[in-house]
């Protein structure tokens, strides 16, 4: 992220550099599978030979948040699990995106009960809501393609936590683990 932050969005050459970096970034989105329940099985199915996610550049499902840019929250998030999800989200470095996979994460789903968070957007900023219970693997691939479009159109100056002033770039503190 360091180099392109120096680029101010003007000029033909800099927009081409922006486009190149965006193209590289969107074709190698590394997902962080926050697989909690049934939707996690469909996420596993996206990785299997029939609905190959490797052709999108995303089969690197590393379970460590420090190396990922996309968090796929797959499964019902309960009140007990919510601080854990938030902690993992905070540990991911910028830029990051979130897919809320399935009905349970979008709005609580079929579980209107005392222990289920009725939608993860109560504590996480969500980019794409994916409907289905569970969504078919094709749906998840569609969501991935939409995220790729979104990444492809984002310019460097729109990323959060970066301020460019005359003294140079102010790099954000690399994500202190929050004690909430």
């Amino acid at each position: 992220m360091g180099l392109e932050a120096y680029i101010k969005d003007t000029g033909f050459l800099t927009t081409q550099v922006n486009a190149l970096i965006a193209w590289a970034r969107k074709n190698s989105v590394w997902p962080m599978p926050m697989g909690i329940s049934c939707c996690a099985i469909e996420m596993m199915a996206v990785g299997d030979p029939k609905y190959d996610i490797a052709r999108f550049g995303s089969e690197v499902m590393r379970f460590t948040p420090r190396q990922c840019d996309l968090m796929i929250v797959a499964g019902t998030v309960t009140y007990k699990m919510a601080p854990v999800v938030r902690k993992i989200y905070d540990q991911m470095p910028e830029p990051k995106w979130v897919i809320a996979m399935g009905a349970c994460t979008s709005s609580g789903g079929m579980y209107r009960s005392y222990s289920v968070v009725q939608g993860i957007d109560q504590f996480l900023p969500v980019d794409i809501y994916l409907a289905g219970c569970p969504p078919r693997p094709d749906n998840l691939l569609h969501a991935l393609m939409m995220i790729q479009d979104k990444i492809g159109k984002t310019k460097a100056s729109q990323f959060k936590n970066i301020t460019i002033d005359d003294g140079g770039i102010k790099v954000p503190e690399l994500n202190v683990i929050q004690n909430n």
Binding site: M34, G35, I36, S37, C38, A40, I41, E42, M44, A45, D48, P49, K50, F63, G75, T76, T78, K80, M81, V84, V85, I88, M110, Y111, R112, S113, Y114, S115, V116, C133, P134, R136
Partner: protein, 416 residues
């Protein structure tokens, strides 16, 4: 130690530190470490939190913590009718969803006194066995992947996709299909589904052997899981183990044979049993069970009788949609059943089936209403995880992964 007390709840800390050990050190915590194998972990098969107390790399204390996926199933069951609850039961053991549906409708039918027709029972048996194969394929794949053999996972998932295709043709959803209904199944099995099931069973056995050949003689795999996590026969029965884990410890017990339900007494199958009780025995047992289930499905496909797939009890079983739209009686019955429920007589029952993880049972108490007064789900994974502290103590951290993989817990049903 202070920071420890801030992060772990005092009661859990007390349970962890009270583990007995035979080390006599002046300062008990000099060499020990508490490791949190947290809810988000690639190898814990879901959201299971394990607090491990380590001496070097050897484990001397283990406290599992559940509840990260507690969705309030039992409370929701008290507020919805028996029919409305069928999709919820899908999400219990979400790797073999059809089996949970079958368990629920069998329990409700026992409570209400309904008998499903023969063809429906055979179809239910077929889908329950296919669900067992699907679940064991994932269990084998995930177990091998945890131990390090990544290819197995992809190959078994490829086979599983074929089963999901069969279910897709049968009822429209490849996963979490609420196919069974009280009094039968939702719709008849189409000829394409039956043909695809036949094709699948024919090509399943050679593919499974191909998968086996990759790791069965691999020295690294065998040395990693042989003799790890041994549970003796008496301990297994005492701790409430069930399913493949119990049979791998030497107890020849299977609910399909000992307390038969559906039409299992008309089908001929063996119960594989191993006596060693370690991870390798559980792995081999699951492979054998896959083969037995394939044989059962083949017999079912040969013996499937023709006939209706829903019982003809208008006051308790939903009538067919064509009749609801055209005849008055059926419309009234449909209205009453959907709005007020099937109103079984007052009483209580417990019914269990042999799910892929063990004994999946429902304890239902009815007060004559359309919704249960109490519903308790006896989930096999909950009781299986209870044995983890006993299995894990004395082993290394890398064995914990193998042991959890071999017990094969599913947190959706363990946490309800």
């Amino acid at each position: 130690m202070d920071q420890l007390e801030n992060e772990i709840h005092p009661k859990i800390l007390e349970a962890l530190l009270s583990a007995k050990n035979d080390y006599t050190l002046d300062d008990a915590l000099e060499n020990e470490m508490v490791l949190n194998m947290g809810p988000q972990h690639p190898a814990t098969h879901g959201v299971l939190r394990l607090l491990l107390r380590l001496d070097g790399e050897r484990i001397i204390g283990c406290v599992p913590e559940l509840g990260y996926l507690h969705r309030g199933y039992e409370k929701m069951a008290e507020n919805m009718s028996y029919y409305e609850y069928i999709p919820h039961t899908d999400r219990l053991d979400y790797i073999s969803p059809m089996a949970n549906n079958v368990a629920w409708v069998l329990a409700v039918e026992k409570l209400a006194g309904i008998e499903a027709p023969k063809r429906a029972q055979y179809i239910r048996m077929m889908i329950a066995e296919l669900a067992r194969i699907a679940s064991h394929l994932v269990a084998i794949g995930a177990f091998a992947m945890d131990v390090g053999a990544l290819t197995i996972f992809l190959w078994t998932l490829r086979e599983r996709e074929k089963i999901l295709d069969i279910w897709d043709i049968l009822c429209g959803a490849r996963f979490t299909n609420s196919y069974t209904r009280i009094g039968g199944v939702a719709n008849d099995a189409q000829p394409e589904a039956i043909a695809k099931a036949k094709w699948f069973i024919d090509q399943f056995e050679p593919n499974l052997s191909e998968v086996e050949q990759l790791i069965n003689t691999n020295r690294i795999f065998i040395e990693r899981v042989d003799g790890v996590g041994v549970l003796s026969k008496e301990d297994a029965i005492d701790l409430g183990f069930s399913g493949p884990n119990l049979r791998a410890s030497g107890v020849e017990f299977d609910l399909r044979r000992n307390v038969p339900y559906l039409c299992y007494n008309e089908i001929d199958f063996k119960i594989p049993t191993y006596t060693e009780g370690d991870c390798l025995a559980r792995y081999f047992l699951r492979l054998d069970e896959c083969r037995e289930s394939a044989k059962i499905v083949k017999q079912i496909l040969d013996k499937m009788p023709a006939g209706p797939v829903q019982a003809n009890m208008p006051k308790k079983v939903l009538p067919h949609k064509d009749e609801v739209y055209s005849k008055m009686e059926e419309l009234i019955h449909d209205f009453m059943i959907v709005n007020f429920g099937i109103n079984p007589p007052e009483g209580e029952i417990y019914h269990a089936i042999e799910g892929s993880k063990g004994e999946l049972g429902f304890y239902l108490v009815s007060k004559g209403d359309g919704h249960p007064w109490k519903c308790k789900i006896r989930s096999p994974s909950f009781n299986n995880i209870q044995s983890l502290p006993k299995l894990v103590i004395g082993h290394l951290i890398s064995d914990v992964v193998a042991i959890i993989g071999s017990i094969d817990p599913i947190m959706g049903e363990a946490d309800k």
